[in-house]
Amino acid sequence: MAREPVISVARLEVIRGGRQVLPEISLEIEPGSITGLLGPSGAGKTTLIRAIVGVQIVASGEVGVLGEPAGSPALRDRVGYVTQAPSVYGDLTARENLEYFAKVLDAPPERVDAVIETVNLERVDQVVNTQLVSSLSGGQRSRVSLATALLSEPELLILDEPTTGLDPVLRDDLWKTFRGLATRGVTLLVSSHVMDEAAHCDSLLLLRDGRLLADETPEGLLRRTGASDLDDAFLRLVEHDGESERAAQGGAQ
C-alpha cells in the first residue's frame, strides 16, 4: 500500500512585498521521516514552512497537510510548529508556559512533565520551575519552545532553524531528540542553513531563491553530484544552477 504523503505542496506561489518568494514550488514529504529543508538565508525556507503551517498568505497553489488543507482548524493540535525565534512568554517560567499552552491544546496535565523530559530540561529544577524564560540561556529557551510544540503529541512537527546559534553538543543532543521522535512515528520537517546538519536527515530539500535544487536522500545527492561531502554537493548544485541560469539568459539574448 502506498503511504499518503504527510505534506503535499503543489505549484505553491508566494509573493511578499511585491517579490515572488516562492515561484510555483511542488514537493511531497513521507510519513515517519526527518526531512531537512536546507538552503542559504533568504532562500524562502521560512516562507515555505509558514505556508505549510498555514499562517502565510499564498498567491496560488495547494498545500495539503495530513490530508487537510494547510491551516484548517482540524490540524491545530496535529501539527507542532516551532518558529525560528523561541515563541514563548519571557515573563513566565518554563512550567507556567507549558501549563498554559497545555490548557489551550487540551493536553492532559501530565504531558507537561513528559515534554520537559523529552527535551532534556527535567534535570535542572530551577530552570523549569523558578527562573523566568527571559533569563534562560538561548539553548534552554529554544528547548522550552520545542517542548511547547510537543504538548499535543503532534503527528507532524515543523521546526524552523531549531539549532541555529547553539553549541555543537547541544545541537547533537537536539538531533538525537528529533531522531527519537521520528522513531516514534512523528514526521519532522527541519530547516537549517548549515549543510552539515543534512547528514542527520532521511531526505533533503535544497532550496535556493525559492526553487528546489534537490529533493532526495543525502546518499542520493552525494552519488548524483559525485561530491565527497554534503557541503561540497550543495556548492556544486549551486554552481550548476548558476551556469544553467547564465546559459538560459545567454540563449534569450
Binding site: 491551516g71 525565534a85 514563548v88 507556567e96 489551550v104
Partner: protein, 245 residues
Amino acid sequence: MSPRITVATGVRVLLQLRHDPRTLGLLIVVPCVLLAVIKGAFTGQAGTFDRIGGPLVGLFPLIIMFLITSITMLRERTTGTLERLMTMPLSKLDLLAGYGVAFALVAVVQACAVSAFAFLVLGLDVAGSPALVIVLATANALLGMALGLFVSAFATTEFQAVQFMPAFILPQLLLCGLFVARNEMVGLLEAISWGLPMTYAYDALSRVTESGPLGGDGLADLGVTVGSMLLALGLGALTLRRRTA
C-alpha cells in the same frame, strides 16, 4: 469559544503581571500619588479636588490599561506567541476575553485601592456612592484595554506603542470635559468631543461625583462606554489574523 481557554488565558496574563511586582506597585502607587498632588495643587480652590478627583479615580484605569494592553499585545505579536496561538485550537474571542477577564480583575483591585486612598486618606467627597465609581472605573478599564488592543496592531515597536498614549488618550482627556466644560470649547472641538468614548466615560463619572445617582443619561453614558469597548474589541479581533503576509 471555550471557557477553559478563556480562563487559562486570563490566568496566564495575571501570572505575567505577578512576575512583575514593580508594574503592580506602579499600578496602585502612581494614581494615588497623582491624586495627592492634585489635592495639594488645588488646595487654594475649594471644591476643585472633589470635582475632578472623583472622575480621575475612574479614568486612571482607562489610561493605564490602554498602555499596558497595547504593550502586552504588541509583545505577543513581535515575540511570535500570537502566531503560535493562532496555529493552536484557540479562537480569537478566547484570547480577547481572557485579556478582558484578567484586566478587569486588575482594574477592580486598582480602582478599590485608589478609591480607598482617595476617600479615606485624601478625604475625597463625592455625592454618589464610591461603589458606583468602582463599577464605572472597571467599565472604563475594559474600554482602555479594548482601545489598546486595537491600536497595538498599528505599532511595530514599543516606542511607537508608547506614543499612542499621547496620540489617542491625551486628546480625549483634554476634550472629555474634565479640564474645561465642553460647551465652553471652540465649536469644532466640542463637536469632536461627541465622537470620543472618554467623553461618555467622564460624563457618567461626573454625574456620580456631582449629583449622586447615574440616572437615565448616566446609564446611556455607560451604554456608550460599553458599546465603544465592544466596537474596539471587534475591530481588534479583525487585526488578529491567522494568516499574514
